[in-house]
Amino acid sequence: MLRIERVSRRYGDLLALDDVSLEARPGEIVGLLGANGAGKSTVLRTAAGLQPPDAGRVLVGETDLWKDPVAAKRDLGYAAEEPEFYEELSVDEYLAFVSAVRGVDPGAARARAADLGVRLGLGERSREPVRRLSHGMRKKTSLLAAVLHRPAVLLCDEALEGLDAGAALAAKQELRALADQGAAVLFSSHVTETIERLCDRVVILHRGRVARTLERREWGAPEPGLSPLEREFLALASAAPAEGAA
């Protein structure tokens, strides 16, 4: 469970978040929707422990993130919009480092990294230095590192943008699987279609405030199965290799 309570955050004169409260319950994927500059990334960065709020608090389970950050971050995973890495390490070395710091069983982490890597289309690039990866490959690596330890709370900042359709589908399936296993997922995007199809609830941010919260029933059921474009892309992808060199 993730609870953001009355969080405010200012950047100089700009009030980026103004008394924002929201929660993501176990088993739920909550979408954060908003225009550019609405405060989505600020919410996620604050909830990930990258910047302290000026007021309010963030609870991961029952743990206050800013009072006991180490305990809270054990249950957190964060996929950034513009991920940063140790550019000198390979994808595998980076994931091995992250899983060691998180205290994940090495055998299980390695198997999961290999499995997810193949599904996301990272498999053949896993021994290349991160600095040689394309933007899409970097996003996949970031997502993989965020879900490797099956976090109780997953924060995704525009995590699907930049992924090819095959990887985006695999990523959505992984997010749903994590939620089905009891994780709370907070997922930001400015693509409404992704949010519609993936999320159970949507929080709309406007100028740093929660403008509206919508339950899935309020925007109607998504069409079952793949969208026509996804079907087309997958048919093409099965005949050609996945995303190429950087």
Binding site: A80, E84, Y86, D92, E93, F97, V101, R102
Partner: protein, 412 residues
């Protein structure tokens, strides 16, 4: 394109870059927090004060012996040397930037003339030459009441002009050097050739398989630091100096010089080893991407512990090397050397670890603070023996007090 269009274009570019440069200066000044500004100002004032007294006394005696004109000549020579030093700093900075690729946007994709771009890039490198202002101010102030005030004002104005020209020359030489090294490419101007070469990094060979193992967080950081240092990175460049100095401190004992001199040389090189090791600790800590490190369940104890351990390992290596190479020394003298060197190198390394953690992710600030602290300690020790150590330990304690705030530090 006719001449008037060219002139108009150059004017527009020049205006745009001037605006950018003004904004960058404002942004960089605003990026230094108030406390650090006070600390930097205090350190600059102390260095200025130290240099003032070091120069004032010889100048005063010179004035009594030979008169005002000689003092003015010495003032001018000193300022000229400082201006040349500033030019050297600009040259070194510009060389490094051109080799690594200057920061900022994808310059080659912008429709700007190479001339305007070259001028802007040199502006960024020239800024470092202004470091020479602090010793120059001390040098000029040391002449107050020894030579007429208006001479000093004139000398300082000449110094500023010389510094600007020396920095320009330094950057020009750096560009010529980079052009000489860059591959020839037809159809590309000199600067574009340099920038194209600077952006080509890395090899195509796959890296060795990762080691997936269970280990405490501090050890994972330690191993990662080692891997990053073995690959092309800023940390690798910083690792060369401490290794070379460590070897030199061992070689000092084998030189055909008096034992007392070898002793002093080995000790001094040992201290330099520690100082450069501290710089490496800061550099390797600076390779940690902020969102990665801060997103992981890492406490300050693990992060600081990993960096402190490097200081401990560096100190231990230094002591082992000295103990093996200085066997000719009397056991008591050897013991004293090892105790002093051990304590000093550990203190310096720990200071590096403290700055690396407390000023993270501002690596440049941390490097600057380390250099200023150690420079001040040397200056203090030259004035009053051993006082420098008091300063080092004070800096160590002061920086340690900031460690608990680590988890609330922000990237910007």
């Amino acid at each position: 394109m006719n001449a008037s269009t060219l002139v108009e274009r150059e004017r527009r570019e020049s205006d745009a870059f001037r605006l950018l440069e003004r904004t960058l200066v404002r942004r960089r000044v605003a990026g230094v927090d108030a406390r650090l500004r006070v600390e930097l100002a205090a350190l600059a004032a102390l260095i200025l004060g130290f240099l003032f007294w070091q120069v004032r006394i010889p100048l005063d005696s010179l004035e009594r012996r030979t008169g005002v004109a000689t003092v003015a000549e010495v003032e001018f020579a000193g300022l000229a040397a400082l201006a040349i030093g500033g030019g050297g700093i600009a040259f070194a900075r510009h060389t490094v930037r051109l080799r690594r690729g200057p920061g900022g946007p994808a310059w080659l994709a912008l429709p700007v003339t190479p001339r305007a771009l070259g001028r802007h890039l040199a502006w960024g490198s020239r800024a470092t030459a202004w470091l020479a202002l602090v010793p120059a101010a001390a040098w000029v102030l040391a002449g107050v009441q020894l030579v007429p005030a208006w001479w000093l004002v004139l000398l300082f104005a000449i110094f500023v002009w010389m510094l600007l020209e020396a920095a320009r020359l330094g950057c020009w030489l750096a560009v010529r050097d980079a052009v000489r090294r860059a591959e020839p490419r037809s159809g590309l101007d000199d600067l574009s050739r340099v920038l194209v070469a600077a952006r080509r990094v890395g090899t195509s060979a796959p890296l060795p398989a990762a080691h997936w193992r269970r280990q405490p967080a501090w050890r994972a950081l330690l191993v990662k630091d080692l891997v990053v240092t073995r690959r092309p990175s800023p940390a690798r460049q910083r690792a060369i100096a401490p290794i070379a100095l460590l070897v030199s401190s061992a070689v000092a004992w084998a030189l055909p010089i008096a034992p007392a001199l070898a002793h002093a040389l080995a000790f001094a090189l040992g201290l330099l080893t520690a100082a450069t090791l501290a710089e490496w600790i800061i550099a390797v800590a600076g390779t940690d991407p902020f969102p990665v490190l801060r997103g992981l369940p890492l406490g300050v104890a693990s992060v600081w512990g990993a960096r402190l351990l490097w200081a401990v390992l560096g100190s231990a290596s230094l002591l082992v090397v000295q103990a093996l190479c200085a066997r000719a020394l009397h056991p008591m003298a050897l013991q004293v050397l090892l105790v002093w060197l051990g304590a000093a190198s550990l203190a310096i390394g720990a200071l590096g670890a403290n700055y690396a953690v407390t000023l993270y992710p501002r690596v440049e600030h941390a490097q600057r603070m380390l250099a200023l602290s150690l420079g001040l300690a040397i200056a203090a020790s030259l004035m009053i023996p051993l006082v420098g150590w008091v300063l080092v330990f004070t800096a160590l304690l002061h920086s340690a007090r900031r460690l608990p705030g680590w988890s609330r530090q922000e990237a910007f």
